[in-house]
């Protein structure tokens, strides 16, 4: 029973994470391969504050704000680049954040990470059970997903898609392209920060190893598989990928076979990503296309 709850919680967190990336990669055409940086910033911010004694609700709020500010800050240099250059630079940014976490021991605990991150209390009664955490996480996630969905359907989202499809036309019709992209990055970073904070409080332990390129690839797979640019796509994709990934951990295998699960899963996930690009770049749920 517990492992079903675990899978559900992980899936919910990744749904928010994937939807956050979707606002950039799917809706705005910003190929950010460093979204994990905002996830890490959210996780560390909330972990540092809450282990320092701040109330968890406040820590998470602060995490969202810090992540959004980081998004705003990094958008200035990143938005000067295009296409694949933007992608590589964002990836470099994420790795720089990871190196900071690895080296600034006074704040992050360095490679040892931050242990004993508190879980939210349930109506004043600690410790919180998995069921209760799931309810809290699902409620926050639903709020975030609804917010992102509303934005995507609003004229704001339509303008982002206009920019994604043809920046020149957007400019010729009086749209400040950079300002729109900056806002998208900021909102997207905030949502990723929330996902990171939830994740930190759920696992109660974080370390720089959690925020590598591997996580980026997993996230990319969630989004591309589900269908970028759609509202349901990232939710579906994150659900599928996390169920597969987390369920495999609980397979009753002998240790010498269990060792093989992770690499085989990596091969399959990577192959799916390649196959999707070739056969179905629009993902399971395609946006309306020609």
């Amino acid at each position: 029973m517990d492992y079903l709850l675990h899978i559900a919680i992980m899936a919910v967190i990744f749904m928010v994470f994937a939807a956050s990336l979707n606002l950039q990669l799917g809706v705005s055409g910003l190929y950010n391969f460093g979204q994990v940086a905002f996830f890490a910033i959210g996780a560390y911010a909330s972990a540092i504050l809450s282990t320092g004694g701040a109330p968890i609700g406040l820590s998470m709020l602060a995490a969202i704000v810090v992540a959004a500010l980081a998004g705003l800050l990094i958008s200035v240099p990143l938005l000067r680049m295009r296409g694949d250059y933007f992608g590589i630079a964002s990836l470099a940014f994420a790795e720089m954040i990871r190196l900071l976490a690895l080296n600034e021991r006074w704040a992050t605990g360095g490679p040892m990470g931050i242990p004993a991150i508190p879980r939210p209390e349930w109506l004043g009664m600690a410790p919180t059970s998995l069921v209760q955490f799931l309810v809290i996480a699902a409620a926050l996630a639903a709020l975030a997903l609804a917010g992102l969905g509303v934005l995507q359907r609003a004229p704001f989202g339509r303008t982002l898609k206009l920019i994604r499809e043809d920046e020149n036309v957007a400019m010729a019709f009086a749209r400040d392209v950079k300002a729109f992209k900056r806002r998208a990055m900021c909102v997207s970073a905030a949502a990723a920060g929330l996902a990171g904070a939830l994740w930190a409080h759920y696992l109660t332990y974080i370390s720089p190893n959690d925020f590598t390129v591997q996580t980026t690839i997993l996230l990319l797979l969630c989004l591309v598989l589900g269908g970028k640019g759609t509202i349901a796509g990232p939710i579906l994709g994150a659900g599928l990928v996390m169920v597969i990934q987390e369920a495999l951990r609980f397979l009753p295998l002998a240790p010498e076979l269990g060792r093989l699960v992770a690499p085989i899963q990596g091969i399959v996930f990577g192959a799916v990503l390649v196959l999707l690009m070739i056969r179905r770049p629009q993902g399971l749920i395609g946006e309306m296309r020609e």
Binding site: Y31, R80, A92, M96, R259, G266, G270, V272, L273, M277
Partner: protein
């Protein structure tokens, strides 16, 4: 002396970064996409050598080298055929995502075959030479020598041979190359085989210097990418200088900042170059040179 030693070890690792960068920059110059899976060719070269040196084959180092480089080249041609060629008319970002997927496959396969822990070769090259009071390891000498020989050969190939000129022509003006009917298939093979072979050679040298690590490809890719950006995408000899610059900058930086931030240098270089001079420090034209 301390600084001279840092400089020398920096030049030595820079030489391997330059070897890593050749394939990345040639693929970008010719086919106009960033091959994220290029790092795995480095790792597969290093592990390939191990594969041929361990039982059942138990080849000597010298005998295992050629098949190890060949293995990497075959992997490169395979990925090109399966993952990249079907996408050749798509946006560069689409191919980049496919190459990210391919890198995940290749790295996972490496972990599946060899496990996740560090490995080392069953031979040791531990000798050092004393050059006017400076201690230089044999491996460092091998690194610099291999890079020097490789780039000399590359220079000859690109300038003097027919295939080399075809390669440069495709990078310079692919439409005209097609109108002339220059042999694209041969160029494609040459670019991938050369790039993968040199990446694998670099991987082997790094393996001799330290350990084999399943993630060595990723870190190699980052260094290679920084070298490519310094040299200007498509510029083979710019990548040589770029690699050497990064290697020395990284090593010298450890004298002033925490060694934990050594890798930070490459990232910072990537970031700053993309921001201010995406066309590279040396001239701005594209094409394999």
């Amino acid at each position: 002396m301390y600084y001279v030693e840092l400089l020398i070890s920096g030049l030595a690792s820079g030489a391997t970064y330059a070897l890593f960068a050749v394939g990345l920059t040639m693929v970008y110059g010719t086919f106009r996409f960033i091959n994220f899976a290029h790092g795995e060719l480095i790792a597969w070269g290093a592990y390939g050598l191990l594969l041929f040196m361990l039982p059942p084959l138990s080849l000597s180092f010298a005998a295992a080298l050629a098949p190890a480089l060949a293995l990497s080249a075959i992997i490169a041609l395979g990925t090109e055929r399966i993952a990249f060629r079907p996408l050749r008319k798509k946006a560069a970002v689409t191919i980049l995502i496919a190459s990210i997927g391919a890198s995940y496959v290749l790295r996972s396969a490496l972990q599946l075959a060899f496990g996740g822990d560090l490995k080392s070769y069953p031979v040791a090259f531990e000798g050092t030479v004393d050059l006017m009071g400076v201690r230089v390891t044999h491996v460092q000498i091998a690194m610099v020598a291999a890079a020097a020989a490789s780039f000399a050969a590359l220079h000859w190939l690109l300038r003097k041979t027919r295939i080399g000129k075809y390669m440069r022509a495709f990078a310079n003006n692919p439409d005209l190359a097609a109108i002339y009917g220059l042999p694209l298939a041969a160029v494609r093979i040459a670019v991938w085989v050369l790039g993968a072979g040199l990446a694998a050679l670099g991987g082997v040298l790094v393996g001799l210097d330290s350990n084999l690590d399943p993630f060595m490809g990723l870190s190699g890719l980052i260094k290679a990418f920084a070298a490519v950006l310094i040299g200007g995408p498509g510029n083979v000899f710019g990548a040589l200088i770029g690699g050497l610059l990064i290697g020395t900058a990284e090593n010298l930086s450890t004298a002033v900042i925490s060694p934990g931030y050594k890798d930070f240098i490459a990232f910072a270089i990537i970031f700053l170059l993309l921001l201010f001079r995406p066309q590279g420090l040396f001239a701005g034209r594209t094409g394999v040179r």
